[in-house]
Symmetry: C2
Subunit: 317 residues, 2 copies
């Protein structure tokens, strides 16, 4: 069904409703969308049903973008609920397995209406929310949304003297030495985050060498209850003068790796990575590194980053 | 300000409004929350202003949970917009740097009202959305929401014969051998996902050994435009009989690692990891593994998983 057909059907309905009085949801102190009156009105005005205009995907789901189907800006929860109800009947009859609703923030009242039909938020960002409803058999097989934030720290190692760049956070109760770092921006590669955060916190410029460790932690208080992936990279310094951010850091120093590996004034992970780095200094960083390679992504023409242990030179690459 | 105080202030306002006629937003074909009339009404009834009841965090942000402050279930966009506007004036005067609104899905119309004051969706899940507005100087310093989904595949290696468990997806154009895997459920550890997905797809039970490779990819079509972290683990088989899921897989076999490493009927990453595993079979898996250790999280009493190269036995652990 074309979007224009939907608009044609809807506009006279809304105009008719606005002229009436009994169906105005704001006049009755109940949930605004419990409106059987409006539903009969809908049928009397229009006569024919038909689903909201959506796109069907290869999994048998239908996606309706409420910004694209010509809904009046002031459509009521009541009326949208009725339209959605009729669409759901038809989608179920057609064997659709799921419905996705993309709701612009200005039409958020449609999300409330949809929730009375079982829709829940799948995700929301900036100016729109996406709701979903599973219509298929058994448990929902819909994929979830992003579950992890990614934090990256950079261990900048000066190989000439065995020192590493460390900071103490300003706003922590315990003044523990740690590697500078922070959250990845959306779409930012791990190594880029490490180099950026090191520079922002310490003023030291560096370049990415390898990935050293990964920590996974759930129900993270700094991640709105979601999961946190915290990655420590090995970096090489390009500059050495410290000019640290006094908003974020209390101290910033080039510290002996051996000292960092044995002090109690640090975090367990920092201590662990310090020992890894000491081992790397002595035996070669090849012992501790996951090296990175960029490979082309088949579908997008973009590149992805792949990290793993270096293959021996005798292997085909 | 206590939530009960807010309720006291609001209820008579709403009742007064419902008795009137001109301010019913459903009656005027304009954006429902452009209602200066209602605002003057607010002042005439109440006389005193006061912010929505919220909690102040250590960063100077205020969080208002709309489910906790006694809003009437049928509060209009117009009235909420007016209340929010007055609160914003006060929060700005108090030097608050940010406002977070937690909006139950049934009160979604309040999200539309908030958007007219500059609020945007920070995230949404299941039955509520969270909106945010930066009031501080310069660019927003609010942390973002989760950016990555995590997919995990398991390479189950039978060390007795050098074979590895591989599948071909049912719904792909190219029938490439790959390791069974899928998306992590919320709160699920990497190794648990690998073992679960291998069993669901192939019927083979296995146990986690190590982490082998990590891929980071942005704007991922299967991740609603977000980023994807794809992790391959090494697993050891506990059972060997294949009973694969015909919904997901076209084929499932124990394949020679040497054959997988040289065939073209696979993906670049699978091929790469097959060569890593061959190297591990010959020289010991210690050459290719990131081993995992559980450590206690300081703040939560929970544990996190840390992956890095095994430290040599001579190091303190």
């Amino acid at each position: 069904m074309a979007a224009s057909g939907f608009v044609y059907k809807l506009i006279p309905l809304v105009r008719g409703r606005l002229r009436g009085r009994t169906s105005c949801p704001a006049r009755i102190p109940v949930r605004a969308f419990s409106c059987t009156a409006s539903r009969s009105q809908l049928h009397s005005v229009e006569g024919t049903g038909g689903p909201l205009a959506g796109k069907v995907d290869r999994f048998g789901g239908v996606t309706v973008n409420l910004a694209d189907i010509g809904l009046p800006a002031d459509i009521s929860e009541c009326l949208f609920s009725t339209l959605l109800q009729e669409s759901l009947v038809q989608w179920k009859a057609e064997g659709k397995v799921a419905v996705w609703l993309r709701v612009p923030i200005s039409l958020s009242r449609c999300a409330a209406a949809a929730s009375t039909h079982g829709f829940t938020f799948h995700h929301a960002t900036h100016d729109h929310a996406v709701l979903s409803l599973w219509l298929g058999e058994g448990e929902s097989r819909l994929p979830g949304f992003a579950t992890h934030q990614v934090g990256v720290a950079g261990a900048v190692v000066d190989e000439s003297n065995g020192k590493v760049l460390v900071v103490q956070d300003r706003n922590k109760t315990k003044n523990a030495w740690k590697f500078p770092g922070g959250l990845s921006d959306p779409g930012e590669n791990i190594g880029v985050t490490a180099v950026r955060e090191v520079f922002e916190e310490t003023g030291v410029r560096s370049e990415f060498r390898s990935l050293l460790s990964i920590r996974q932690q759930h129900n993270h208080p700094g991640a709105f209850g979601m999961s946190d992936m915290y990655i420590i990279c090995r970096l090489s310094p390009l500059t050495y003068d410290i000019n640290f951010c006094t908003q974020e850091c209390l101290r910033c120093e080039w510290l002996d790796l051996a000292e960092l590996a044995k002090t109690n004034d640090t975090t367990p992970i920092t201590s662990r990575v310090a020992r890894l780095l000491l081992h790397g200094l002595e035996r070669g960083f090849g012992e501790i590194d996951l090296s990175m390679e960029e490979l082309p992504a088949v579908y997008s023409g973009m590149f992805y980053q792949l990290y793993h242990r270096q293959l021996p030179p005798t292997s085909k690459s």
